[in-house]
């Protein structure tokens, strides 16, 4: 029985209702109807999920209710907050509601906080404006709220600036700020999209508690079916400005009616059941196991000097972004590299491609040590290894047509080709990645993210390289587009016997596409094994925690899931002993600053079963939440 069914209908105390609400934008290309007459309601103690892909109008719907539309937008229809009409009120009238009775938190917690004000002052300002508290009372209340959202050392945080906090901490501060005046309604717009999975799990737990303990009504706007599964009571699926399906969470997940809902559920990568994505999306049988490895990384280190003090000449401490990583890659193999932000996965990729300078170790490409080669020699080798970037629009030159961008590697490596031949090859490649060849003269800003990512893949593939590195190549895309791009990469791998380094923070996607998976933590490998081995039998506490934090788009499983927690505060990457986080028994007490000659104990990789490597760690059972 679902939560909604358990709640007798008459007791629902409606907090927010909207009838026939529409939002129209006046643009140079004519009127754009972002929201086309939708109705919804949210009751106290209830969580409503609004699910849809980018451009579905889900954010604009709630921005219009909050009176935050851009100046060329207009809202029509009816929206009521506890029976009072609030749509299109003057800002002065709306301020009686927003910020205190209804609040909104956004995706990027850094841009939502004022950078030059200390956390404490920002919180106190909200209280003094809305509640006329004295400074002492306001300070006490702010501190209390920071503790409520489980910010460790809350009193110290009050005196810190937003940039001193991690992404997860900032989002907690935002939630604390929105809760200061005991709101009846909290609108969360993609609150966890920019956060790591373990942090996302904590924020979702926090929202769930708010709903249950304080009876706050919550609207959760997201593109991620996994996020809504565990927390929402009801879900509205939004596409092209209308709700295509509404229902309880169980109805949506187990008895979807609309094709779009079914498509969303099918496209969602499943960490628990990778086979659900179908036979098309699985690593193909292309690995050349007998030949010599195509790429070998041996004890790769990349250290960045970070200025930590000193006056004129400064004192520098190395930031160990990548600290002794070794692996090898066969022809036709996909190695997935996962880890949370700051674990060094992107730096590792750039080190392998020689886009950053190694501080130690070596990279051997097809039998030749790249360190021995000069810069022009490496430039000539770039024909054989290419990279696909995370943000499709940022990785294309805005002043070049997509045809020119795709042709660029060709012009560099095959200067003998005639312009007509180059054009023909570009067109051929465009067809292969699913772009219309007649778009050859268009500019990147005319395309969607998915289409631009296809351009990026076409550019990487045009020289038929032996290896491509995908650095979060599908992370910025909608799930349906993500599935298409994954299929495209797998098809290309089958056709050309391509090797791939697939870097992602998304463990579900990595499971779908990789032959082997490597987990990084603070620049070091903690576990490396075959794809099924690592997910079915994770040995390292960090891997176990990561896997348990991934939301599963299945409400029953998600509610029943046991989540593991990491011990204590995460270490600063500048701490030379950060690598001993899971092995505190080997830590030694150091003076501050630590002597430059100090070399901490390096946990070794142990082969627990053939092909399954786990970093040494103290026996540790992660606490459950």
């Amino acid at each position: 029985m679902s939560v909604a069914e358990a709640m007798p209908a008459p007791t629902r105390e409606l907090v927010l209702t909207a009838q026939d609400l529409s939002v129209t934008f006046d643009t140079p290309d004519g009127a754009v109807h972002a929201v086309k007459g939708v109705s919804l309601d949210v009751a106290a103690g209830e969580c409503l999920g609004i699910v849809g892909e980018s451009g579905s109008g889900k954010s604009q719907l709630f921005l219009s209710i909050m009176g935050l539309l851009a100046s060329n937008g207009a809202a029509a229809g009816k929206a009521q907050f506890k029976g009072a009409d609030i749509l299109n009120l003057s800002p002065q009238a709306l301020n009686a509601y927003r910020g205190q009775k209804m609040t909104m938190i956004f995706q990027d917690p850094l841009t939502s906080l004022t950078p030059h004000m200390k956390i404490g002052r920002q919180l106190i300002e909200v209280l003094t404006i809305h509640q006329e508290l004295t400074r002492g009372e306001a300070e006490r209340r702010a501190l209390e709220m920071l503790e409520k959202v489980r910010i460790p050392l809350a009193a110290r945080r009050m005196n810190q600036y937003p940039h001193e906090l991690s992404g997860g901490m900032r989002q907690r501060v935002m939630i604390a700020m929105s809760l200061l005046c005991d709101p009846d309604l909290l609108i969360a717009d993609e609150p966890t999209t920019a956060l790591d999975v373990t942090v996302q799990a904590q924020i979702l737990d926090l929202l769930r508690e708010l709903k249950d303990d304080l009876g706050t009504a919550i609207v959760l706007i997201t593109h991620d079916m996994g996020v809504v599964a565990g927390i929402c009571d009801r879900i509205n699926v939004m596409q092209h400005g209308t709700f295509v399906e509404t229902g309880t969470t169980d109805e949506i997940f187990y008895r979807p009616q609309h094709d779009y809902t079914k498509m969303l559920l099918a496209a969602m990568p499943r960490i628990d059941e990778p086979a659900k994505a179908g036979p098309d999306i699985a690593p193909p049988d292309t690995v050349d196991t007998d030949g010599p490895p195509l790429l070998t990384a041996q004890d790769v280190k990349v250290h960045f000097p970070i200025r930590t003090g000193g006056l004129l000449f400064g004192q520098y401490t190395p930031l160990r972004a990548v600290d002794g990583v070794s692996f090898s890659l066969q022809r036709g193999e996909t190695l997935g590299i996962v880890g949370e932000s700051g674990c060094g996965k992107s730096t590792l990729a750039r080190a392998v491609l020689q886009l950053v300078t190694l501080s130690g170790g070596s990279v051997v490409w097809a039998g030749a040590d790249l360190a021995a080669k000069s810069k022009p020699q490496i430039r000539d080798l770039r024909e054989e290894f290419q990279i696909v970037f995370q943000y499709p629009l940022a990785s294309l030159d805005p002043r070049m047509t997509i045809g020119e961008s795709i042709a660029q590697p060709l012009r560099r490596f095959k200067p003998e080709l005639e312009p007509e031949a180059i054009k023909a090859e570009v067109r051929g490649m465009m067809v292969k990645v699913g772009l219309e060849p007649r778009w050859i003269n268009r500019y990147p800003h005319e395309f969607s993210g998915g289409q631009n990512q296809r351009v990026g893949i076409a550019r990487a593939m045009i020289l038929k390289p032996k290896m491509i590195v995908c650095d979060e190549a599908v992370s910025a895309l909608d799930v349906s587009i993500q599935a298409q791009i994954l299929k495209l990469l797998l098809d290309l791998q089958k056709e050309f016997g391509l090797s791939m380094l697939f870097i992602s923070h998304d463990l579900s996607v990595v499971r779908q596409i990789s032959h082997r998976v490597m987990v990084l933590f603070l620049g070091r490998i903690v576990e490396l094994a075959d794809r099924d081995q690592i997910y079915d039998d994770p040995r390292h506490p960090y891997t176990q925690t990561l896997i348990s934090a991934v939301p599963i788009p299945d409400p029953v499983k998600e509610r029943a899931k046991v989540r593991l927690k990491l011990p204590g505060e995460l270490p600063s990457p500048l701490d030379p002993q950060a690598g001993l986080y899971f092995m505190p028994s080997k830590r030694v007490d150091l003076p501050d600053p630590p002597p430059a000659s100090f070399e901490p104990y390096q946990p070794r990789l142990e082969e627990v079963t053939p092909g399954h490597f786990v970093a040494e760690h103290d026996p540790y059972t992660p606490p459950q939440t």
């Binding site: 030159d397 490596f413 800003h445």
Partner: protein, 303 residues
């Protein structure tokens, strides 16, 4: 009956319609056209340039000859003998002289700005893109040159090489490029961090190729705006030098020279100051409004 060429034309037209798309430049032009102030300035400036180019050819007077039709120095504006702006202290027609001055002032503005533009873009892009020690050394050189007083620099040039028309362009250009280099360097620093530069590196391009193909085209937007602000600054600088007697020599003239002469006759013949001053002020306003319009039009946030 289907003619094969008909079908071919049809597909070609179809392709053309598809290919067109809206480029960044089209977008910018559309926004610029919507800006009435900028467009009005553009037309006014065009009219001044056409006048400066052609009016002296059709006028009955020469810029350096005393006019005897009227036979009078310091004549007020009169249509008798066609002296719409009057004559100056030597009896020369002021209308022709003002337009000759426009030729010189606009030429100084455009040529000195081009000198500044070329040096500034190359210098700034190289310093910003290569970075590190190279950047530090190159920008400290700029700082040192900034510290040299402009007038002192020009006077030394004049003393060493003598008063020379071309030297004027070079002297002004050599000072204006410093700011241009700083602007381009700043823009390059932000562009260097973009992923598409890394993509070009990963595609095997060398430094100079990346600067030429990716960095410079992307700094052009802010640079164009700065150029339209530099041209008036250069015209003012030339006026200033001529005013002090370091610029253009008689009988050639520029707006700065005319204004300097006009100020001496302010009480007896105010038209000698008023007409060149109006032309100069209108031109400077035009360049500034066009600069504002271009800045708004090229701002991608407006899209």
């Amino acid at each position: 009956m289907i003619f094969p060429w008909n079908r071919r034309t049809a597909t070609l037209m179809e392709e053309a319609a598809d290919v067109e798309g809206r480029s960044l430049w089209d977008d910018a032009m559309r926004r610029l056209r919507a800006n009435k102030l900028a467009m009005g300035s553009l037309y006014t400036l065009g009219a001044i340039i056409i006048l400066a180019l052609f009016a002296p050819l059709i006028s009955p007077h020469a810029f350096d000859k005393v006019s005897f039709i009227c036979g009078q120095i310091l004549a007020p504006p009169t249509m008798a003998g066609f002296h719409p702006f009057g004559t100056d202290g030597a009896g020369r027609d002021l209308f022709v002289r003002t337009l000759y001055g426009a030729r010189i002032s606009l030429a100084v503005g455009l040529i000195a700005t081009s000198v500044a533009l070329t040096i500034g873009i190359l210098y700034g892009a190289i310093a910003g893109y290569i970075g590190g020690v190279v950047d530090n050394v190159m920008m400290r050189i700029v700082d040192v040159l900034y510290a040299v007083p402009f007038m002192f620099f020009v006077i030394i040039l004049m003393v060493v090489f003598g008063r020379n028309f071309v030297l004027l362009f070079l002297a002004i250009g050599a000072v204006e490029w410093l700011t241009m280099a700083r602007i381009v360097r700043g823009q390059t620093l932000s562009i260097r961090k973009k992923e598409f530069i890394e993509a070009a590196e990963a595609a095997g391009l060398g430094r100079l190729q990346i600067i030429a193909r990716h960095v410079i085209p992307n700094v052009i937007g802010p640079v164009i705006v700065y150029v339209t602000l530099t041209i008036p600054a250069v015209i003012l600088a030339e006026s200033f030098l001529s005013f002090l007697g370091l610029g253009i020599q008689e009988p050639l003239t520029s707006w700065g020279v005319l204004i300097a002469e006009g100020k001496d006759e302010l009480e007896t013949a105010p038209w000698m100051l008023i007409f060149p001053a109006i032309f100069m002020a209108v031109t400077l306003f035009c360049f500034n409004f066009i600069g504002d319009g271009l800045r708004d039009a090229l701002d991608p946030k407006d899209r």
